[in-house]
Symmetry: C2
Subunit: 135 residues, 2 copies
């Protein structure tokens, strides 16, 4: 299988697959013409990576998970630990974004958005502490 085919099947750009090889996540063989020759197992790995990345795992997490995936003697606790840590990070990010969102939504709704220059959004930004000026 050539790179174009596996890219299609795994749902990853060719560039990304070459990058994954560069950082040692996959090691396809090479034909005499220099083309990468992907085995079924390479395709499985790439599919695995595509899915793990879609769930937001970092490349290093992916490396760990791939290692566990290939290790028949793994303990599922190790996998769960990685996933739980990632879940906690996601929750933290969601929290940060929701906090930003709340402030921003408040500011947007306070701004009349017409042709006049006065704007509570700019007023807020220029006040180090933030938060709409009270009354």
């Amino acid at each position: 299988m050539n790179i174009g085919y596996v890219a299609e099947r795994a749902g990853l750009p060719q560039k990304t697959i070459r990058y994954y090889e560069e950082i040692g996540l996959v090691r396809p063989q090479r034909g005499i013409n220099g083309y990468r020759q992907f085995a079924e197992s390479d395709l499985h790995k790439l599919t695995f990576l595509a899915r793990a990345r879609a769930l937001g795992f970092s490349i290093e997490d992916c490396r760990t998970l791939l290692g566990l995936y290939e290790d028949a003697g793994r303990e599922s606790a190790a996998v769960k630990a990685v996933a739980e840590e990632h879940l906690a990070e996601i929750d933290q990010k969601i929290g940060q974004l929701q906090s930003m969102r709340a402030t921003l939504a408040e500011l947007v709704s306070a701004c009349h958005g017409d042709d006049r220059p006065d704007c509570p959004i700019l007023t807020d930004l220029s006040q180090s502490g933030g938060k709409l000026t009270r009354s």
Copy 2:
């Protein structure tokens, strides 16, 4: 005011302030010793930047917002438009993260996490489509 002082006041690392100068967001004067000399207006700008960045605005958005901040003849509609676009991006990110979170939480709770190797997380990841295998 030297960089250390304004960094403290604005709540930004010195490195970041130098970077902001490099990309033209602030233009402090220089003393004969080569040190940056920040005026009050520079400090205001940096404070503005710190707050805008904390709300997740990109550097380019910050550049635009700073321009509007300094333009006494601005229309508040322009500011509101930038903020609304950013708000929409935040909502999109939150949505993506929540979707990841849901899948991941499901997988984590399905994994018993002990010393045995079988693990629904890995099973899911290895199946291109994802989603817990039905029964």
